[in-house]
Symmetry: D3
Subunit: 326 residues, 6 copies
């Protein structure tokens, strides 16, 4: 396990210790949930799809009108600087999970008072991926039980989920709702107001039926980078993968299902509201996708996560909090 001490966070051009990586209570991020972000991962210490994450980040910044001056190339460079600064404090088998936060900064009426930074904030943190996936190893055995919540996804016309933003209290409300559901390995699956499957609170959803891979239309969801990679994998494997409207009936009658997210890549979903999907086991095609992914990145994704689980992971207190995985 990496040494937790020593890690630093890049904030507006300076490195500060992780424990001092904080945001003013007068920041728009804390006043309005007005912050956009990305979270990435590495394979063998090499960032995966970093450019795609940054492009999505800049689309988010544009959409919410944060007047940032940093170019995408500069941002990319600062990410690598941050990794370099932190690598000494990472274990050999650690992967770098980068979190980039961009907020509008302190609201104008509070500026000039606090001796604080004015203007947008850019924050780049870097911590061991194992934190995020701790405890997930068993899910590759059992699969996830997707639970449809009473909480619906907020549709794009009210709050754009394609912008990766921090106004996500409703995701937390969905997670709380699922925590009351009997049994374990329950992850929330949100329907949009039309009753169509949207997404999990930190993951995208797929089903497989008659060798056809299907995922919801990219409307009321975050368009995950891992989700996009499934299309690449399907292309590589000459399998059909389409965006379409999916309803609970389609899930119940599917052959397989899975969820995707940046830290864990792909996890099987073996039941919906405790009703088995297909055989109720890790599906054949799901497995093939995950294997190909592992090969492509030269990392046994499942074994890596399970190995991390084996260590006594003293900082891991509870079950997975799936949000912000995509």
């Amino acid at each position: 396990m990496g040494n937790n001490k020593g890690r630093v966070v890049w904030i507006n051009g300076e490195f500060v210790p992780e424990s001092e990586a904080k945001v003013s209570i007068y920041d728009s991020a804390l006043m309005f949930g007005d912050m956009v972000f990305e979270m990435t991962r590495s394979f063998n210490k090499k960032q995966f799809k970093l450019r795609e994450h940054l492009e999505r980040l800049y689309a988010s910044i544009k959409y919410v009108h944060i007047p940032i001056e940093m170019t995408i190339e500069e941002m990319e460079r600062h990410v690598y600087e941050t990794i370099e600064a932190n690598e000494p404090f990472f274990a050999d088998d650690d992967e770098h999970r980068i979190m980039i936060d961009v907020s509008r900064g302190i609201l104008s009426i509070y500026q000039g008072i606090l001796g604080s930074h004015n203007g947008p904030n850019v924050i780049i943190a870097d911590f061991p991926l194992r934190w995020t996936v701790a405890g997930m190893g068993e899910l590759y055995n059992t699969g996830i039980n997707a639970v449809i919540t009473s909480q619906r996804a907020i549709p794009a016309q009210l709050l754009e989920p394609k912008v990766k933003n921090r106004s996500r209290l409703h995701y937390l409300m969905a997670n709380i709702e699922v925590s009351k559901y009997e049994g374990k390995n329950n992850w929330a699956l949100l329907l949009d107001p039309d009753g169509l499957v949207a997404e999990g609170t930190g993951d995208n959803f797929f089903i497989v039926k008659n060798n056809r891979i299907m995922t919801p239309e990219p409307r009321n969801i975050l368009r995950g980078i891992s989700r996009e990679y499934i299309f690449e994998l399907c292309n590589q494997l000459s399998m059909e993968c389409v965006e379409t409207n999916i309803e609970p009936y389609d899930v119940i009658t599917a052959d397989e299902a899975f969820m995707t997210g940046t830290p864990f890549c792909l996890l099987p979903v073996t039941s919906l509201n405790s009703t088995p999907i297909g055989s109720g086991e890790f599906g054949r095609i799901t497995l093939k996708l995950l294997d190909t992914w592992s090969k492509n990145v030269d990392t046994d994704i499942v074994r890596q996560i399970k190995n991390w689980d084996l260590e006594k992971d003293s900082y891991r207190k509870s079950g997975p909090t799936p949000y912000s995985f995509k």
Copy 2:
């Protein structure tokens, strides 16, 4: 003007300088917009309706399941301690604007690492009310031009607005939208998805027609403390005040309109999308309500705000940001 230096913020039992009042980037508040809050004001240094604010705060805490142990009485006491600690740094004519933030704290997967506080955060800040109302004095002369945005209010079943929470990016999007509207003194007025008037991004809305005062049903809105006080005032003045569905047509054909919010109490709305409401002037009944309010709290509300405007207010950079006034 009060001395900006010296003020302190109560955080989890300790006073810290305002410039150090910050929240970890791993806090649920910054991850999910998972923070509830209140903002109050004083009249003649005496807190107004503090208990009502705290009761609403505890309702919010209950709704989002933040496992706080502090009682409402303890919270009230800490508010007064914070005021006492800051009063020396306030000008004689300053009023205390209290901001209470409560978040769930650092997400479990990040706990134990950072030497940070675990568990919920309670933060009590105290700053001069004049910051918030700077530049508003003229609005008592011109009135507000309410502008209906394309952005709709998120209805309660998707994200409960009656919980005073920080997942409000859509409010900011509405404010940005209004900033493109021609002219000035434009404040956003959000309709709910049914097309009914909901609220502003930091205020509640009222109309007056044939001596009857009307405000939207308390469904897709924050139930403002100032809004509640209008009912008290109407009772005192033997005027009829009802909750009802209000549409833009009703506003266009009303005699008067106004908005309420904690810092400014009540501001006249003299036009809707640039179309005059009634005479297009500060309405007679609106004025009566404001006068009675001033008398009840022994403060000339308008004069106080205008006086603050007269000072060269160097920290005030831009127009009003109306959010979080209620």
Copy 3:
């Protein structure tokens, strides 16, 4: 306990043994869920609000256009005949639960074949109320935990719930959903598609706040006879009872809550999704209403149900199935 043998059911003018009280597989009731019905109860063997039930039944019949010729007076008479026929087989402490079913009869294309009754069917069954309330006694101690389901109420414009009909598969789906919720004493509470509280799957819902009793507007609900009686009781007790839009936030912040239904009259609801409502105990006003009801009908409603629970009730296999109580 009454003798289960011997009871008869009135079907189209004849008494048949209960075990032979059946409906043809070609009946419109089984083809379309095309059946309307009522279920009543007695207090001290005297039918309660029978006429109101029958009037609602005839409204249902009219709405779905079943061409019945029997008058409401004749129907009432047959109910009493059925009670008379069955009373010998009831225990002294039994109450008569009457179930009246009216269906359109065998679909025309199957008529003339089977030697069956053509035209509408009227069925009047009569069984001991204790069956329905078996196991409910403890709910007067613990209260119900109302659980909001992902399944929404079907709004009136799609399927009129004010017509007491048998097309209620969605109620069953809601009950199945709740059966997966942790803990016990969980009863479904359905929201309508606007997110407003509608009703349970066999009961109406009330909250109490500041001594004011509130129940959903009579739009997307069955207008229960017991619900109507609460208005009578409030009138008798000079308490305010209003129909209004109720949202989960209102329930969470209420002082008390309860559900009403014909067999159990009134049961306290002490939590919503496991969050306590008010004190989390049987509310003061709720209790007052129940006591008054008991006095008015000269029956200790709670004791009666608890007494029935004490008996070894061999025919009672599982927890309450709340549907069709109103």
Copy 4:
């Protein structure tokens, strides 16, 4: 015509005379409309797509959680046993229409009383197809006038139409509504709440425009077996057939339209709300599909139905009741 006497119905493992094929009034099917079913037909006494019907049935059973133990193979076998038992009572030119009903059984609170069967019910009836299609022969000449009802289809998120269930009172309400429409040969066509064409009350709907065959997306409809067969036929004929959103405007401006259902296979729709579609005649492509179907099953579908019409069909009292044809 077959001898109506003698036919038997398979109920939970036993054959009973058709006139005794009944369901207890305490069965969940009669209490909640909680029954799923299938209806098939034969061509030349050979069941058509029986396996597809059974697979859909088992999907329905799974969706509504009826705890049936019978396997699909056993079910199939019992169907054939039922046909064998009834064939002696069928005319030579009769076809076997199989109806399979599966219900959850008597509600638990009524079990143990009646000496009845506990647990799910499986019922397999078998009757002459001619009953169902009696009077339809002329529709191949005139075509159907599709009438859009005020009654909308219930969308899948409220009551899943892809589950072939018996909670269909709204279908009956739509049929009643159409019965008030002037003229004859009127069949209901339901829009979903978005105003998109969904389905008839016993049939799926297709249009043809510029040689392209279109049918509604499989969302708020029952996915009919005959509907699926149209895709097979189009594939056989190298014609394009797609699922897409269809609105009344598209129907009005189409070249042809038709409906599909198990008993009649395919019927031309020649007008919408009395406005002719295309030429207002039996369309060229519609006819080609029907002819190919006839050839594939070695049955002149139209002639068979018309021949049955020619007989004096004493048991046929009224016009077609189209429900449950798909």
Copy 5:
């Protein structure tokens, strides 16, 4: 009968013969349906509620931003001038039906070309009321059969019905739909998209239940002047009249129903979709309201209309076209 020749229409300050009362094809009214209007009537040649009509007209003008300079007093004066000019051509028993049209005028790109009037158009026509009510006399005997159409009312947030405007093609579509309904005396009754009763295509709707008079909330309807007068009448008669949500179920179970409109004042509605309302006769309270109205205006409203029917009315070609009566 009045002499059809001779009547004149006031157009932008000049009187022109009725046959020349026309609007340019380039007028915004014909391009966009961009015209607001009022239609009144007299009793004994005296205009009824003219001022209320004009105030509603000016509210409409304000809402759609037609830049008219004429004051409401001038408008009123021109109405009287028009009546004076036309009275010689009216029969003694004629009443004056005034139609005021206000349009934005010729679109700017067409101005200056045609030698036409630029700027808004004001048109005041005056014709015998008997045209409008011809054939309605029998409706006081039979009552109207209200027919719910598939066509829904457009809700206010999409097209404001409280503005009396000419973009009403959907009303005509509803009338066409009803024309296909069996029988006669059928008038359209539109539901809003929530399934609540809105209004007819030229009338407002009321029900009476237990001596309580109810009419839809004034949201998705035109707020008729006659509708307002019912409230006055109820006040005069000490009867309760409330605005509330009304659904078809409420209509089916009401005691009485009626429609109001300017030309005919009040007509009984005796059935809904051919199902009788209450006794299916002209209701007692409905009659009382109509009688009181007749007395108040010193005109036997029913007799007047029936008398007009008795004449051979050669210009009356077809049944009532109810639009624009309110």
Copy 6:
């Protein structure tokens, strides 16, 4: 510039001077917005896609049930006759803009009085295209700023936009709303009630992303003839053009955008709510489409419009009124 005098309009078989081309105030077109229409243009005096316009017109006529007897061939002939009659009054560089209006005619209750034409009206006007596009030349330089309005498109199930009708007050309301937006070159872009991009008030909308051309699904829009031509152009250029759901997020992140309409063919959209789309310049693919169009019709579309702008165009008073361009 052509001689404005002399032009004639074909009305019901006769030519009348343009200044006399009017419609009676009693016409259904002015009463209900009950008129359907088409507007075309020529290139080099040759009508473009006239037949397609006429076919759409006849679909509109059919949909709204106007009982016209004229065949499409006759209509086409009268168009050419009208062009022939007007050509002498057109400049050499003028193009013919044909406007065809079809209304139901004078309402029946007004027929026989006025000596007017009874039955449907057919009106064919012909005026110089330059009127319509006056001032648009600069838009080819600056591009349009598309502004999303609070006013939503009326969905097809409430008022069918695929029928090119005159009940379009909501379009005008959207235009008024946009007129309050800061800056210039602002054109309204309407979302449908689901928040999906629908269309402008006189144009269809396209985006380009990764060389893929996308336009909204043809549901809640007018299916423009120019829109259809883009598909033809894409086919010619072997570019992909698809109908799909488009949201503001997709527009903000697109590479290019443009609008199409009959008079101007295609105009670049360079920003959305003032946020640049792609480079914020006239897009490469957009330009290619326009160039190909110009070549196909042997007209430099941009130069022609800019040349018209150069003339002192005295009849052009204001900015573009985009409605009815498609």
